[in-house]
Symmetry: C2
Amino acid sequence: MSGRPAIRPDRLQDRLARFAAIGATPKGGVDRQALTQGDRQARALLVDLAGSRGFSVRQDAAANLFLRRPGEDADLPPLLLGSHLDTQPTGGRFDGALGVLAAFEVLEALEDAGVSAPRSVEIAVWTNEEGSRFAPGAMGSQAFASGLLPAEWLDARASDGARLGDELAATIGSLPAPVTSLGFPIAAYLELHIEQGPVLERENTPIGVVTGIQGTLWLAVELEGRAAHAGTTPLDFRQDPMRAAATAMAELYRTVMPTDPDARFTIGRIEVQPGSINSVPESVRFTIDLRHPDAAVLAGLERQVRAACKNASADSACRLSIHRLLDMPPIVFPETMVRLVEESAQRAKLATRRIVSGAFHDAVHLARCAPTAMIFCPCRDGISHNEAEHVEPHFAAAGTTALLEATLSVLARVR
Amino acid sequence: MSGRPAIRPDRLQDRLARFAAIGATPKGGVDRQALTQGDRQARALLVDLAGSRGFSVRQDAAANLFLRRPGEDADLPPLLLGSHLDTQPTGGRFDGALGVLAAFEVLEALEDAGVSAPRSVEIAVWTNEEGSRFAPGAMGSQAFASGLLPAEWLDARASDGARLGDELAATIGSLPAPVTSLGFPIAAYLELHIEQGPVLERENTPIGVVTGIQGTLWLAVELEGRAAHAGTTPLDFRQDPMRAAATAMAELYRTVMPTDPDARFTIGRIEVQPGSINSVPESVRFTIDLRHPDAAVLAGLERQVRAACKNASADSACRLSIHRLLDMPPIVFPETMVRLVEESAQRAKLATRRIVSGAFHDAVHLARCAPTAMIFCPCRDGISHNEAEHVEPHFAAAGTTALLEATLSVLARVR
């Protein structure tokens, strides 16, 4: 080692700007959806950069892309640093790209300082984290962690008509990098990501040490009543699903989040049929996004939602059905990894705060096959999945420094 | 008079079936929207029937169609019996048509019995009562009552691209009937219509004596908050318009109709933006249809709605705006006319019940220019604006008999 490695904030900012130009939108955001030409262009640029630093490059059948800075012992499983380069259709410059480019900056800092260590450090660029062009999201990391690429994924069609299997093949084929088997042993996984929430910025805390990822349940609630004339139908003749829906919703808005600061309750979609001003609706459908870091509490919240909907539907003489659209249990990162990140950041004099991730990340899947931790960067106004998404350069630098320090800690400690 | 006039229920049923065949839908309903070929065909059939009984026919500039059984004194304003022949896109066989064909049956019964009276009895077929192809509804009766055909109506376009002015001209031109000026003095107006609600059928009461038409207010409520990530945004960072909407709605569902059996409160339309399962919405828009027979109470209900929305929007830090889309004050029919209908029906041994009309009717406009009354027929399950709409033949006959008796009462009494 020729000196203590350090990141170069200007180089990081330059890289962020170069990648933000690929798929740039007029409003300053990025449209670089998974497996599009833009995604391939961003991967090609990263492969070029890797080549210029002598990092080796490989891919797998899920088009996950890996850049390795080899350690002295090729038999040791590498430390993996990862995130994604795909974006939402009207996404920002940092969601995903910051994690990949911070990881690249870490590799360069190790290289610049001539750090030598037994263990390799490898960057993973996970395919299709966003899930906006092809469902589900976090495909690449899930395929890596499970070693499986489900056949039904390959036949999935994008709204633009493209078939996932074809787009994977074309993306892999576009890069001068060998394809290795899906999944390989890793020593640990670290991911830097923007918070996508307002907590760190409000406290002006540069480093969020992620303790886990809350569990998420998506429920589709359907209430069926009877369409009726708004003017001629007295109350006791109504089977009004909108009344049932509003009553259940209001009770849940009043009870779920206000009594538990860790709970998240969101109704983001509602459809009313027939949707006529002067008709009592025939049916109302709405979705509930319910989250909690504690699996048992989340299960209790689901019971609470079902009970509120059941009572309200019975009061309005409506038929009720509730389906789960998604059930992702909470992830808790190992305390050793959480503490490792915390101590690494504090070593660099960076203030930290423990935080539960409200959003999904590729780390959900990696946590199943290796000790995993995440670092959050503050983002402006908590805004993400939005062209206005912004991370202050000093926060990006702080997060990247924390990632470097955590990398050094893993290289020094994890066996 | 060659005997007491009486209606012929079989003839009425035959007529109802013949008209229901024009625009018949596979599910047994009728699609005969205003000023379409179907509407013209139905008018032509009625003009044919009028010719066969020697009734005179005329139209006006709003394509209202009139069939007159002349009285002995041509200077006396006629008694007008009216309704409409247009339907909703998936309408029933009775909404409108029953009133027109019952009126025709009354004219035939007078004719069959050789009734002679000083006053003419005239049928009005009002143009575009439903308002589904061209807004607003009840155009023809409004034009007749006001003597005006607003220029903006003439330029209104249907969803099929047709211009109202052109369709009026084509409809008028399709009939062998002279066009007279818009509006003329009338002695009184009587309209038979299906209840479009469940009250009479539930009580098995054949005759609803309509005391008036409740006032209707349509409000468009818009709540604007801030879109945010469902997983990452704590409660105190949310400006959730869906929370505000559900809270206001639930309060109003709980307070408006349950405390006042004459009030009607309906939310039939709601739109959420961006409509993503895992996003706190940016905005929520919904409509409120609010009705009451008493103008002062209706005004109080509007204040109650505005206050509930204001409180809920303030609690959720959302911006609120409320616009009136429609403001139709209550109509109260003259007690003399209500009693005339009541006594006429009772003379024919028909049980009656006073009832407030929950729906609009052409009578809303006629009530402004002449003593007006309405008779309601029970309909199955209160269903209307629906292909399943049904009126039992004995109820149709009872309503038509009541209309005949009321006609005789007007001919005998009203000066």
